[in-house]
Point group: C2
Chain length 161, copies 2
């Protein structure tokens, strides 16, 4: 590299090191911002939910089954965005842990209906309490009104009519 270019390069590197990070375009994208916000909440989720040995997707399944007893795996699969093969494996584990019960659907023996066991219901109630608390902490910088507004705006994006 010629000396003149070299000098310019050093100055540019120095300049770059001193500048705060610019990310105007990325910060204008809803998708990027959703991901960033999600990624700040997840570690707290993992930390607080470790006591129940529940991952985010597993918690979603339990919460959905508590609110919708006897739904089929098909509907559950669509609701939690977990493909049937992966859901089957997750349900195997939850069933082995005695949290979930699979029953043949008497109205259509191809499908299976799902309910929480008593232990599953209890664990779900505890973990819903914990998620409520952890969420409140993770979004403590928002007023109740802002938080409600945020939920409403996000749901406009993904709730189907």
């Amino acid at each position: 590299m010629p000396i003149r270019k070299q000098k310019e390069f050093i100055e540019a590197v120095q300049e770059a090191a001193e500048q705060p990070l610019k990310q105007d375009h990325l910060l204008s994208l809803v998708g990027y911002n959703c991901r960033r916000a999600y990624l700040t909440i997840v570690p707290l989720f993992d930390e607080r939910m470790a006591q129940y040995n529940l991952k985010p997707a597993e918690f979603s399944v339990l919460s959905l089954l508590k609110a919708n007893p006897n739904i089929t795996q098909k509907r559950l699969s669509a609701a939690v965005n977990v493909s049937p093969p992966n859901l089957a494996i997750m349900l195997d584990k939850l069933e082995q842990r005695g949290l979930v019960l699979r029953q043949r659907n008497p109205l259509d023996k191809r499908s299976q209906t799902l309910i929480l066991t008593e232990a599953g219901t209890e664990l779900c109630m505890q973990s819903e309490r914990t998620t409520g608390e952890l969420e409140a902490e993770a979004t403590a910088m928002l007023t109740d009104q802002e938080r409600a507004q945020l939920l409403g705006l996000l749901q406009k994006i993904f709730v189907r009519e």
Copy 2:
């Protein structure tokens, strides 16, 4: 199963099949809503950005390098939430494609500074235009004011002071 229980079960399954899905608790969680909104935008991103052969993380890197020429891998790694080992591999690919240039930092030869090549800059400009368009479509149900509000609320969650 006794006949009486069996009859109750069939009724419960029928009832469940007719009910709309209840997901009150999940919909009250910011983290869950962020993820759901993100997951509705990503497929459109993948579809529109396939022409550039850019994944979300790769696009973030290009956009950040365009706005912050000559920053180090260390800072970039922190900014895009990609661990140094994984960033190294991603940069190998981007460098092989002639989009990015790595240079030893003359001020500290442990680190490397990064800039976009001319081709990288051009691809970044095109893809930023595309992301802008795709985002507008994915969030077309929001008014401009709502969209700005949403970005502001999300950033309150993850922007560090």
